[in-house]
């Protein structure tokens, strides 16, 4: 193993001197995992994720990880990562698009078993019909699996979010998986300037005995351990147990709010929030929106911008407050279903002021002019 000094998360995140790199989003994943003190990573190829897990494999070769292998499918990889986490090690993997759907059943069980896995989801279109292009529709499916959902905009945020997510996922009062979602190609395959601390420091190791559920290692008294076997009985107590356990997972996700606030600064970021027209977006749609805001200002239209960083837990209270004075809330998205607009509509009183447009999908880029058109319509 490579010798790296263990430092506190606070030092690594906020205090350590950083140097600038000009790298792709995939390489940002490598830089994060290099400093994350990950025990095991398991990989399976799918575009646009493959390169990131190739690079994690290189980290294993170079002695930054203790175990790594290529599994046989996304479902098998997500299952194996679950096994590793149940065995008490820090585990990482990544997937995207159809891979996310192939593995889908596993994510709910990660949450159900309260496993502190961190997975990077590099989003891409789903095969209807076949596409390998950018699209965030898979996030719509993932919202109710019970995992924490972070949506990043840039390679810098991707780097920071992966490291911070391990620390949040492993908090005893949280201890549920975190999905770090990043828009495939737009971030994974483009270069950007990012700042990282030196690579001779790393996070403290995971302590499996800090988990609120027993680690499956036969080192503690063998009582009935996993949460699901005891719901395998058809009686009233099992129904009550299952219902209360589902609520417990939701509550664990809620408890992550304070940690997300601490490590990410906030669940949302807002600028010019008192404007009558607000654009609310997540991921790279925020970048396009920022350009549209500039164009609108040049035309003398006052527009505010809200960036949502945490989708689960959803910043319901913040969005409700921010949008209370707005006449229009424009939600541009890189998918056809408009899942973020649905979330926002469900969070505020006057849902008819939410405009679920522009929706761009199938891999097309989003010209800021499309967003500007919506702004112009609202400003009339």
């Amino acid at each position: 193993m490579i010798d790296q000094k263990v430092v506190s998360p606070e030092y690594l995140f906020f205090e350590a001197p950083r140097e600038e790199m000009f790298i792709t989003g995939s390489e940002a994943v490598k830089e994060a995992v290099k400093r994350a003190n990950v025990d095991m990573a398991i990989s399976y190829p799918i575009t646009p994720q493959s390169e990131s897990m190739h690079l994690v494999g290189d980290l294993f070769r170079d002695g930054y990880l203790r175990d790594y292998y290529r599994g046989e499918s996304e479902f098998a990889v997500m299952s194996a990562v679950a096994g590793a986490a149940m065995g008490g090690v820090r585990a990482f993997t990544a997937t995207g698009g159809p891979g996310t759907l192939r593995a889908f059943e596993a994510f709910s069980t990660w949450a159900g078993a309260r496993l502190p896995i961190v997975c990077a989801f590099m989003t891409r279109g789903i095969n209807s019909p076949l596409s390998i292009q950018p699209d965030t529709i898979e996030m719509a499916f993932m919202l109710d699996t019970g995992i924490i959902v972070i949506h990043v905009e840039t390679a810098q945020e991707l780097y920071d979010a992966i490291l911070k997510s391990f620390i949040i996922a492993e908090k005893t009062d949280v201890h549920v998986p975190v999905g770090v979602f990043v828009d495939g190609f737009f971030v994974t395959h483009t270069r950007d300037k990012i700042k990282v601390p030196s690579d001779d420091i790393k996070l403290p190791p995971y302590n499996p005995y800090s988990a609120p559920v027993p680690v499956m290692d036969m080192e503690n008294v063998p009582i009935r351990h996993m949460r699901d076997p005891f719901v395998m009985k058809s009686n009233f107590i099992s129904y009550a147990c299952h219902a209360s356990w589902q609520q417990e997972i939701l509550a664990a996700v809620e408890r992550s709010r304070k940690h997300i606030q601490h490590y990410f600064g906030s669940l949302i970021e807002a600028e010019n929030q008192d404007a009558e027209i607000l654009i609310v977006a997540s991921g790279t749609a925020v970048s396009q929106s920022r350009e549209a805001v500039e164009l609108a200002r040049a035309e003398g239209i006052n527009v505010g911008l809200v960036k949502i960083k945490s989708i689960r837990p959803f910043p319901t209270k913040e969005i409700k407050e921010l949008s209370s004075n707005a006449k229009y809330v424009i939600v541009p998205e890189f998918n056809r279903v408009g899942w973020l607009a649905r979330e926002i509509k469900a969070s505020i009183n006057e849902s008819d002021k939410v405009i679920s447009s522009p929706k761009v999908f199938g891999g097309m880029t989003m010209p800021p002019e499309l967003i500007l058109d919506e702004i112009r319509r609202c400003s009339k």
Partner: protein, 289 residues
Amino acid sequence: MKKDVFKISPCFEDIMPQEYIELVRENTSPFDNNQGVNGLGGGKELIEEHPLCAGCGLALSLRMILASLPNPEDTIVVGSTGCSAIAFPQVALHNIHSLFGNQNAVASGLKRALKLRFPEKTKDIVVIAGDGATADIGLDMVMQSWFREENITTIMLDNEAYANTGGQESGMSQKGAVLNMAPTGKKFSKVSLPEIARESGCAYAGAVNPSNIKRFEKMVQRAILVAREIGPSYLQVFAPCPTNYKLRPNETLIKAKSREKDNTYPVKEYISPTAQEFLNKLEEGKHNG
């Protein structure tokens, strides 16, 4: 596992059940007494009750497998959806019931994690799953764990049907069997998984039934010890299903014996040369010792 974790809190001494007092004070723990199948019925067991049907071959086999574990205090069982999953909550071992068919993938991650955390200790990972989970929905992950030479033991409880979901045809049902989802009879033969296991990299592969208790114990122990030291192993256990095949509860073992006798479910054992050498040393040592 440290066995001295079993203790009685002094303030509860006067209200503890007698069997728990015996467990702690008179050393009746199944973790302390490697009595094997001889010890069945003589003290605390790793499974004492089960919620399965009367005469269930799977319940009997599971009980015998657990009694045969060479290292129960450091054994983790990975199961899958099926009848056995309903019995696992009664088993006094850490056990993982994940999803349907992904048991060998979960076991791969778990085994590697425990190797990292306990490099000096023996932690046996034993997959115990039904025939649907092993030969049908999970076959990909079962075989891939063999290809990767994971140090895990896979034990199939073969009742020749998807039993817990209501008696559907499985890959292990006999050709011609009329079952749910095979209304005109199964169209293809029983999957020959011991042979597939042998060709897929298992150092030990076998098929057995619970009618001969000492032979059964020996094969379970061989499968686990080979997986610990040499490479992946597979054991297929014929566990007749009285409910779906309309047997009387007392006919389970008769069925197992007759299927062995008429060669429709023969006992098989394939051992790789390296595994054979290892077992020879071990078993000679036992005889001499």
